[in-house]
């Protein structure tokens, strides 16, 4: 298929109707590929004994990139969870930032090597520091959004959690606040059907997380996390609502979990081979790649270019992060309370 036809196709393409340029969707694909590449790199490093622990988001990247796409990278806030690698990359963290955390280096922007890998945070790009207790981030996002509304900064806040996390009382309390004050906050739920080994039917009464939003007087929508453009469409709509002062939206993205919960888990112990296999068909990297290929945007050459760029960036990031210094032992005494610098 020649470039001419490709162009012709894309004008009518779905992404165009959503206001996304070819450039946009190729960049979105790049981020998904980058996050996936980083992911694989981290597991390889862990298996090689160079990292103690990995928790990442294979299968979650599509909806994360799509949901982050409408956000103002510099001005809006993001309150992540441990699977939010792709979202954090789009928001402005670099592969080096991520790997500095994996190696727990002194220059890790998330925590200076103080937290386990996957606990992202970055003041400059307005990503709030992540902790481990599931659910606590939802009220934080609400507080940030309340401040934005009171101070009239126009900031939108997005936060993310998994399906299991929605069982926490904090999530209910946060959504209730956001509904009462019609706050500019997007509640993302990345539903991969499991909380470690606990399946959705033992986690979510009624089976629909999005359905709960109605109980708080704001919209809840479900989108297939493999359908990146659909995820973008609902996220963009939610973002615009927030911007217009019409309050929060709950965005439930159904995604496959393309690996074990973390490097400490073996999903084969509680999931069937068939189920794990079936999930591969829902891989957003594959599905979105197929879409771009189908409309002639992702040519074999472009695919190779992107793959090369991703590999180069990850190699460079790995070297930079490995070379970075460990924190000084005595530095552990610092920052219990405020200190200059």
């Amino acid at each position: 298929m020649g470039a001419m036809e490709a162009k012709a196709t894309t004008t009518a393409a779905r992404h165009r109707q959503l206001g996304l340029s070819d450039q946009d969707v190729l960049e979105m694909y790049y981020y998904i590929a980058l996050a996936r590449g980083l992911d694989e790199r981290m597991w390889a490093l862990q298996r090689a004994g160079k990292a103690m622990f990995v928790i990442s988001g294979p299968g979650h990247e599509g909806c994360q990139v799509a949901a982050m796409w409408p956000m103002d990278r510099a001005r809006d806030w993001f309150v992540p969870f441990y699977r939010s690698i792709a979202a954090c990359l789009v928001k402005g963290m670099t592969p080096t930032d991520i790997l500095l955390g994996l190696f727990a280096r002194a220059t890790d922007p998330s925590s200076g090597g103080r937290q386990m890998p996957g606990h992202y945070g970055h003041p400059r790009v307005k990503i709030l520091s992540t902790s481990s207790p599931v659910g606590t981030q939802y009220p934080h996002a609400v507080g940030i959004a309340y401040a934005a509304k009171l101070r009239q900064t126009g900031e939108v806040t997005m936060t993310a959690i998994g399906d299991g996390g929605t069982s926490q009382g904090d999530v209910h309390e946060a959504m209730n606040w956001a509904g009462i004050y019609r706050l500019p906050v997007l509640f993302v739920v990345e539903n991969n059907g499991y909380a470690i080994s606990v399946p959705l039917h033992k986690q979510v009464a009624g089976g629909s997380i999005a359905a709960r939003a109605a109980g708080y007087g704001f919209p809840g929508v479900v989108a297939d996390g493999s359908d990146v453009l659909e995820c973008y469409r609902v996220a963009k709509e939610a973002y615009n609502r927030a911007k217009r002062g019409e309050g929060p939206t709950l965005l439930e993205f159904t995604v496959p979990r393309l690996g074990s919960h973390s490097s400490d888990d073996q999903q084969e112990r509680y999931r069937t081979k068939d189920e794990i296999e079936a999930d591969r068909a829902r891989d957003p990297l594959r599905v979105f790649g197929a879409y771009l290929e189908g409309i002639g945007l992702l040519t074999a050459q472009r695919r190779a270019e992107i793959a090369a760029r991703v590999r180069r960036e990850i190699d460079e990031a790995t070297d930079a992060a490995e070379r970075a210094p460990d924190p000084e032992p005595a530095s552990a005494a610092r920052y219990v309370f405020f200190e200059e610098g």
Binding site: S131, T136, A141, R151
Partner: protein
């Protein structure tokens, strides 16, 4: 200098800080229309409006968690818990989040939130409206805990807490709200978080107390002074971080230590004071370090006879002083 009730000093501190800094907001149950169940926030809603004076939903974990988020985005929130007994649902947000945010982010994010809680035993407040919670929180690094016992300190420490870059748990003893009056310096009166203060100098023994117990202790000290026992009473008004020097200096002077607290004895805050003295002032001691504290039952019972059985008062303190002085 004006004479104020404890509750009025707290109310004044709110009004002054709200006027000084528009980033200051308050969220809590009934803090708006009602002005707080004890009146601590009276008049704020009328002056500063619903945006800054927030009648929060009945959900303490979110009161703490939302405050943390507000602080991350430029506000200076005061989170009021209606009773210290009801701070427990917020334990995770305060201990895992507020106290750890700066440390875990390597100083990238701070958490300038004041957590206010009316605390301690009063008359007829029973198991769930009388709890002493300081031991749980003073043990948490990254969190400051203050417990002023005078109107001047209540005002000065609250204003200092609002301006502190880190989370502060501010404990207001319910018993003092209307009972305790005192001179409060005019103007922008601040009391630094940290220093303890000697309320009554003495030679024979050092008595360490805070909150309402300080007042019972001063009464007891007056009683026994007539008997020739000269008690030094130290007000540990900041529980964490502790002013070790003032504690150790006093023991070095009197060579005897009595620690009084109304919380359950086992593992209470006074245990840390006793442990500190036993390790750092051992060679100064002429007698055992004595603790006088609440019995180890799950709460203060309601019925008067039971409440009196539980409560530490000037009489029980005077007896403990005599016992220690005689050792």
């Amino acid at each position: 200098m004006a004479e104020l009730r404890y509750i009025d000093a707290i109310n004044q501190a709110h009004h002054e800080e709200f006027a000084r800094d528009e980033r200051v907001v308050i969220l809590g149950e009934d803090v708006g229309r009602k002005g707080g169940v004890f009146g601590a926030t009276a008049g704020l809603l009328e002056k500063y409006g619903e945006g800054r004076v927030i009648d929060a939903p009945l959900a303490e974990s979110s009161i703490a968690g939302v405050a943390i988020g507000m602080a991350a985005n430029g506000l200076r929130p005061i989170a009021e818990f209606q009773f210290a007994d009801f701070i427990h649902p917020a334990f995770n947000q305060i201990v895992s989040e507020a106290a750890r945010l700066r440390y875990r982010s390597n100083n990238a994010f701070g958490c300038p939130v004041v957590f206010r809680a009316p605390w301690g035993g009063s008359h007829g407040t029973a198991l769930y409206h009388s709890q002493s919670i300081e031991a749980f929180y003073a043990h948490v690094p990254g969190l400051k805990v203050v417990a002023p016992s005078t109107p001047a300190d209540a005002k000065g420490l609250l204003k200092a807490a609002v301006r502190d870059p880190d989370p502060v748990l501010f404990l207001e003893h319910k018993r003092m709200y209307r009972l305790v009056k005192g001179e409060v310096p005019d103007g922008d009166h601040l009391v630094p978080i940290g220093p303890s203060v000697v309320r009554r100098p003495g030679r024979d023994l050092s008595l360490f107390a805070y909150g309402w117990m300080l007042h019972e202790a001063l009464q007891a000290a007056a009683t026994v002074s007539a008997e020739g026992i000269d008690v030094e009473v130290v007000d540990v008004r900041t529980l964490a971080p502790l002013d070790r020097e003032t504690v150790l200096r006093s023991v070095a002077k009197t060579n005897r230590a009595l620690i009084v607290y109304e919380d359950n004895r086992f593992g209470g805050y006074g245990a840390e004071l006793a442990a500190l003295i036993a390790e750092e002032a051992f060679y100064d001691l002429d007698a055992p370090v004595i603790r006088l504290a609440g019995p180890d039952v799950p709460g203060i019972p309601f019925a008067k006879p039971l409440e009196e059985w539980f409560s530490i008062d000037r009489t029980k303190i005077a007896e403990a002083i005599r016992r220690l002085a005689a050792l």
